[in-house]
Symmetry: C2
Subunit: 457 residues, 2 copies
């Protein structure tokens, strides 16, 4: 059965170097989540289908991977759907489970299911893979990790402040300087729509405004017109199109635009609170920037909206995002549970660090030291030293076979192993180890203590 | 849409304490894998169905979770199977992917697919979840983690020696003393079957022998008879039934039984090599024990067979196992790739550590210090201190709302937070922090430096 093995499209194998680099990012994020008081939870890879279906829109439903029921699943299949070969109608009768599509809906389900065990406000983080049957393309996969932190059970704006600090802390720790943390507020967008008489066209309005960067002012206006927003309304937006400058000066412009919208003024108040706190607390390497065109999943967010842009010298788009939602758990029957959360885009952060050569060199090293194997006696002598090295946390191994010296040295070279130890008769008699530094080529006979000291230096 | 949310049977949510405890085990195993020279790989959660199907026997095929194709999957469905409502026959035409059933077959697939990038011998570890549509029961789940380490590309027995050391190192690090590492060898079992003239009944023979502990000598003999093993053959087994004592004395008995089997003698030689090396190297807390009844997945293993038993005071069965297989990658067309590997049973190890109260107290702590929130000015003052605490690695948070003092203190109590900091007008003026030790109840006004020192002590 000589099949040529492969993996499903949109999925990936990760080799040791890639795993090490990914873990470097995960560990940095995880450590920061913890110092900010977030605690980890994990949820199953698959959920009951009715937990997931209908939560992400029609497109989302389509992209959810469904798991076929086990056993004689056709015995319970929908007869009519079978007859009509209606795949869509059949699915729910032959599939009860589906793979997690994101971490937010499972988190909402978790909060409702475990509400009696949870002490509110509840700050949780979750780092797990999700699956989407999306068309794979560069940087988009069918299996990928999400790294989420959320707080539920408090509508305090200090959470928003802390999430901005958290982004700054993580990217600073990753040595990725110059990220921009963009912020907006759903209430600003609603307020503007209200002011221009387009409250009923909020989505059309924001979808068009969101494109300002890409298609420019004229086309945005055109699109708004085509969606039925009045010319008079659009003309009121003029100050928006040229909005720039500092957080404070943008706020001043918004104040004039939104003077007659209570909701808009609330949004301004929230933004000012956050901006003032961040100014007082300071950011290490990131910049906070008001971006009134930022909408993201607007239907979802009710207050702050965040998005993090990679440094300007990398063409990558957003590497994180989030916002406040005021009814996360409502879909599972638990009302009035305000929440706010952010997410890190692992794959894109990986690409950015790779592009800017920011991965520390040490993380992709293989082992510290390889012992050459000359035969049974030498191997046993070596394993006694290796045991002590491992107890000191050194990654050490014995070449398993008494192969030719050259083969073993080649193995060390190919794997970039920094130290090789050679133990022959003479070394065993003297209780010494010939330690070869593979970078410099230098070789010396040393005691076990010196050996340990040198490879851990 | 007030549905009562739940999760699929056989799956689990993990709360923060459970995640912390699981990670404690994972991290201990991972760290040991690394010092032994193993490197991590990761493979996709789902594989192409033909990678998995047919690799685990009929029962395995049945237990593999299949993923329904996306879109109009019925358009490519097998017409005949549909008409006859033959679920089994239909599956391959509506499902191309399946969830990973173990880590071994994906590893074999990885080695073959990436053979040009891999430097042999290749020592890899892999810690990822697997899924089985098994009937859930106590300690058996439909989603669970496997922690595997394997070496391929060498038939050196030093690998077996090192795996025994590795088990000993991990369980010692977990403070789980007194585990028994049982070892056997497929060649011993084949040799015995040969000697008693039952080479063609090797599986029946070993399945029966494997039950010696549970059903006793007489029933084992009965079962062997019923499977067609001759009375004369069974009588030759008599020394086996009373086999006990030290590794060496058991080996002596085996030598007399297997004197006429070349394969059996090879097995003895391998066991002796391993026993001698382990005697020389020593084990910290585990015991190596020869167990000729040990078979595990016999069809699979070709040399050493391992199984780890929990300490005698815990009723748990095996907490790890493995062995040597000489043709792992043959299923994917790559011949003569010898391998040997072991696995840790995370869920059972968890239960054992829980039963023996061996989890370190520190791992389930929540945060180190909570700052009480009295309002905007106080919160901002507190966040400046919190920022510095976090930079020192302290897990610190501000209660998000300026709620009643009592509510905030209750929150700290319920979450078992060891320190609470109270900042009011007086503290701000004096640039001091009222630090309350929640265990002792002691409270003192301290500087930021002292605060940091006390909560990190």
């Amino acid at each position: 059965m000589a099949q040529k093995p492969s993996i499903p499209k949109g999925t990936r194998d990760f080799n040791p170097e890639e795993v090490a680099k990914r873990n470097y990012i995960f560990n940095t994020i995880r450590k920061t989540f913890k110092t900010f008081g977030f605690q980890p939870i994990e949820t199953p890879s698959f959920e009951n289908s009715d937990t997931l279906m209908g939560k992400y829109g029609d497109e989302g439903d389509r992209l959810i991977f469904k798991i076929l029921n086990s056993g004689d699943y056709l015995s319970k299949a929908d007869e009519k759907a079978l007859e009509e070969k209606d795949s869509n109608a059949l699915t729910s009768s032959i599939s009860e489970k589906a793979l997690r599509y994101d971490l937010t809906v499972p988190f909402a389900r978790y909060v409702v299911q475990h509400q009696n065990e949870i002490e509110l406000p509840f700050k949780r983080y979750q780092i797990q893979p999700v699956w989407r049957a999306d068309r794979p393309q560069k940087g988009r996969f069918r299996e990928f990790y999400q790294c989420d932190a959320d707080v539920v059970g408090s509508d305090s704006l200090w959470q928003e402040v802390e999430f901005i600090q958290l982004y700054d802390t993580v990217f600073t720790a990753l040595n990725l300087q110059g990220v921009t943390i963009k912020i907006n507020n759903r209430k600003i967008l609603s307020g503007i729509a209200e002011v221009i008489g387009a409250s009923d066209k909020l989505i059309d309005f924001t979808v068009a405004l969101d494109k300002l960067d890409k298609i420019g002012e004229d086309k945005v206006k055109e699109e708004m017109l085509s969606k039925g927003i009045s010319e008079a309304g659009i003309s009121q937006l003029q100050p928006l199109f040229s909005l720039s400058g500092s957080f404070e000066s943008q706020i001043q412009t918004l104040k004039s635009i939104l003077a007659n919208s209570a909701e808009g003024k609330k949004g301004i108040e929230e933004l000012e609170f956050i901006d003032k706190a961040i100014s007082e607390l300071g950011l290490a390497t990131a910049t906070l920037q008001l971006d009134v065109t930022l909408a993201r999943g607007l239907n979802y967010y009710t207050g702050a909206i965040f998005e993090v842009a990679a440094p300007e010298n990398v063409d990558m788009g957003s590497i994180g995002g989030g916002g406040r939602y005021d009814d996360l758990t409502g879909i599972f029957g638990m009302k009035d549970m305000s929440g706010v959360g952010i997410s890190f885009g692992l794959d894109r952060i990986y690409l950015v660090l790779e592009a800017l050569d920011l991965f520390p060199e040490t993380i992709s090293k293989t082992i510290d030291v390889l012992f050459i194997n000359f035969g049974e006696k030498e191997a046993l002598f070596s394993l006694k030293a290796i045991k002590q090295l491992r107890e000191k946390g050194v990654n050490a191994e014995l070449y398993p076979d008494a192969a030719k010296m050259k083969k073993q040295m080649n193995h060390a070279n190919k794997r970039n192993i920094p130290f090789v130890v050679i133990v022959g008769d003479e070394e065993m008699q003297m209780n010494r180890y010939a330690l070869k530094n593979m970078r410099t080529g230098a070789q010396e006979k040393v005691s076990l203590e010196t050996l340990i000291a040198e490879v851990t230096a």
